[in-house]
């Protein structure tokens, strides 16, 4: 295996709102930060689009109890309340996992603001959607934009990570992601499934052998599986079949780079860590 620069997650940004999925992302990020001794920064975005929308004379709020005008001042106060709530959640998680943390609030269009902030970080964690009750699209706009545009690694969570379930990592050769993968398996105290991706059966066999050796030498619990195609559906099947709790995809891999990431994120119920 050729030596490459190792992947390390030292600074983690977590995009916070008050949704369940965001909480799941925070939980995963805090645990990761605790295990990897990384710094955790919480980001709350006051959505400027919404503020502008509130200035429209025709905008009306609809709630279960009736309708009313959307007052920009009220909206700003609501952002403050949510930011405070998000900050508290961050503080609790950070204390639980004993993580160095900070919190910042920014204003802008949600997705762009997150992508802009992500530049300084090794990993950005966020929920798959922030408005699950109404959004019909399985992948929210912020998550989609961040996953596509952020230069750093991305962790997208839908629900929490189920304890004890194995970690599935895609493997196409190369040592870049291996130490981090081993570290993750230690942090989450779970076994490993190495999903081998290859163009040819010969290459796949060679990779399988490599992966076996690596597992053995690192003293890790785990198994090696072969993926027939580098397609979202095939990966989804393997996750289901092996009851994996976290999916790790190294996007530098030749096949993984061609993967339909959006499709993969849409179908996965488990948190997905996309490494870049």
């Amino acid at each position: 295996m050729a030596a490459e620069a190792e992947l390390a997650l030292r600074r983690i940004l977590v995009a916070l709102d008050v949704s369940e999925q965001s909480r799941a992302a925070l939980e995963a990020a805090a645990r990761l930060a605790g295990g990897l001794n990384a710094e955790l920064v919480g980001l709350f975005v006051e959505d400027s689009d919404l503020l502008r929308m509130a200035e429209l004379p025709v905008t009306r709020l609809v709630g279960a109890r009736g309708t009313g005008a959307l007052d920009p001042a009220m909206l700003r106060r609501a952002f403050k309340v949510q930011a405070a709530e998000a900050r508290e959640a961050l503080e609790r998680s950070a204390e639980q996992w004993q993580v160095k943390w900070s919190f910042r609030v920014t204003r802008g269009s949600s997705a762009e603001a997150v992508v802009a902030e992500a530049g300084d970080f090794d990993l950005v964690a966020l929920g798959r959607t922030s408005r699950p009750a109404v959004r019909t699209a399985p992948l929210g706009a912020t998550a989609r934009r961040t996953a596509m545009a952020a230069s750093c690694s991305v962790l997208v969570s839908r629900g929490g990570q189920r304890a004890g379930c194995p970690l599935l990592t895609l493997y196409e050769g190369g040592t870049r992601a291996l130490p981090l993968t081993a570290e993750l398996s230690r942090v989450f105290a779970c076994s490993l499934i190495v999903g081998v991706l290859a163009e040819t059966p010969e290459r796949a066999a060679a990779l399988e052998a490599e992966a076996e050796t690596w597992l053995r030498e690192s003293g890790l619990r785990g198994r090696v599986e072969r993926l027939d195609t580098a397609e979202a559906a095939a990966i989804h099947d393997l996750v289901k079949r092996r009851d994996a709790g976290l999916l790790v995809v190294d996007q530098r891999g030749p096949l993984a780079s061609k993967l339909n990431l959006e499709g993969l994120l849409e179908t996965q119920d488990v948190p997905v860590l996309v490494l870049r």
Partner: protein, 819 residues
Amino acid sequence: MPGEIKGGAPLAAERLCWRCDTSGWAFETTEDLEDLGEVIGQARAVEAIHFAVGIEQPGYNIFALGPEGLDKHGIVRRFLEAKAAGQAAPADWCYVNNFREAHAPKAIRLPPGRGVAFKEDMARLVTDLHDVLISAFESEEYRTRRQVIEEELKERQQASASEVEAAAKEKGLALVRTPLGFAFAPVSEGKLVPPEAFEHFPKEAREKIEADIEELQKRLQAALEKTPLWIKETREKVRALNQEIAQLAVGHLIGALSDAYADLPEIMAYLGEVRQDVIGNVDLFLQQPKQGAGPPPAREGEAGRNPLRRYRVNLVVHNHAAGKDPKSDDTEGRAPVVYEDNPTFDRLLGYIEHRAEMGALVTDFNLIRPGALHKANGGYLILDARKVLTRPLAWDGLKRALFAKEIRTEPLAHMAGLLSTSSLEPAPIPLNLKIVLIGDRQLYYLLSFHDPEFGDLFKVSADFDEVIDRSAANDRLYARQVATLARENALRPFGREAVGRVLEQAARQAGDAERLSAQTDTIADLLREADHWAGTEGREIVERDDVQKAIDKQVYRQDRVRQRMQEQITRGTVLIDDRGAKVGQINGLSVLSLGGFSFGRPSRISARVRLGRGDLVDIEREVELGGPLHSKGVLILRGFLSSHYASDRPLSLSASLVFEQSYGGVDGDSASSAELYALLSAIAEVPIKQSFAVTGSVNQYGEVQAIGGVNEKIEGFFDLCAERGLTGEQGVLIPDSNVKHLMLRPDVIEAVRDDRFRIYPVTSIEQGIEILTGLPAGLRGPDGHFPEDSLNHRVEARLVALAEQRRAFARGGGEEEKG
């Protein structure tokens, strides 16, 4: 011959003590004797217990009364255990959860011996249920069905939302979620229309957008209103699914258990409730961690950390069915006999423990602990009356349970009305037992007098006697008692003579040559000590000398005060004469009891007389050192004097009586004869021989009556005389009626036998005064006068003279008299 008094002879040595005749006994040592199974001399008490145990009526509980040391406990216990052995073991009782009202746990009765099995069965059931339910709810079938239900909700929500969203899109609007709720806004090319641009829209377009938004708002509103209803429907579907799955899993497990308890309707009903509760609370099982994981989070309102405690069985009473042979020391298939040595309220009626949890004290039916009444239910409970009465509220609690015929376990503070926090109210358990209270007589009489309920609950008194009548048969039984005690205490065998000496000591303890002490504990002490002394002598068999040594050593160990008091006399600090003769002075005898050791002590009593108006001054009473009985004795003297002598004249003397050098107070009338002798001596001016000491009370007719502690009194004076030297003149006058109580020390008897000391039994004052003064007392002749030179004559003459003197005074010096 008139003027002579009969009697006056000292007692022969043989009459001073009952010497146990061992020649008729057919054993050499106590090894040859069988254990004594019966109780000697307590026929009345034994019959009372027999009667009370036999009668099947409420209130026939027993109060066993009598002084300490009679082995009341042992006798009662042996008797009850023999009785209980023939009775069936009572039911087992357990407390289980009341699923409807958790604060009122249910009590379930089971046949003896089945409680433990039931408890174990329930514990196993819970483990099995846990496994079965977890696998049922982890099954593919369940997960899929549940997902289908949840998916349905999502689909309904999404369908309605997408519908509105699609409609909005068609109209160039977007549905946006804000922190305050949903809102519709116009979009253009996938972006929200900025407010500046919107203002430039033509009026009609703006109005159309407004109208569209209003319509969409209504549709969204309608959709939102349905959401809570859908969620509720979904939750109900999930619950129904859970119940269906649980029912399948639980049914056969509980069914299997029900077969084992088909004969017990209460258990069957309980199992039915368990089944319903498990089905309704499947979550409790599913929350439980898999093996090896940490404890589940505490649930509010649940005592303890494990919510499955609700299915446990708290076995409060467990007995053993007959025929089984359990290794434990339990009742083994018979009625229980329980002795509670610390009968507090809680330990009698049971109590409810609490556990601190998150700063609050919580409890549940598992923390109900049984009391002595639970354990003894269906059998017998022995309690010490004094302890029950001194433990706060224990007596009230016991009476309440007996009246109500049920055990109601509640916190002590509840009973006292001091606590209003929530606790449990366990179902009461029916109570049917016999209680034996053991206590002294005073306690029994106090309770009878002051507690009106006492008589209703303790109808039978088993009155234990502290003495046993002596007879040849009883002596032999007593010897067997000695043998039994020796064996129980693992002592050396006692020789025949040694046993005889023990019996003599038992008679001495009883203070009566015709009775034996029933206080087995002091007899047992004597046996143990005699055994010890035999051991120091290297003997294999305890001999009479060892018993004597044990007695002597016991006395010596307690003898310090007596010895110091005697020293005060021999050194002349306390004045007591034992020779010579004096007018108006006599040696009285008193008994002191200190810490169970009694001894006699001589005291000088003196009387002085002068002309007066018939007042008899008892100095002890004047200074309040004399008790009422002593005063009574002195007043009797006045009655005797005024009626016996010169009854036709006023008693014209003034006399004073005193116990010399007495600083601690006296009571009792046993010195009244001595006081009378001193008074007669003073009136007649005839000296009394100081070599005598006197005891005995006297009545208005001059008859001498029995007193207590005769042996100690004689020995007290004897010790003094022996120390100063026995002259052969010294002796003690005792009431004739006390002769049967004589159980004197061997050294006293020896001195009497050698004519160095004498003991005179007297029946009347006349008899006594003759011995004391050497003068005949004199009987009133037909002429109404006492014979010349008799003591009575002198007394009367003096009284007449005093009366004449007084009359002369009254005539000649009336003013003086008045003054």
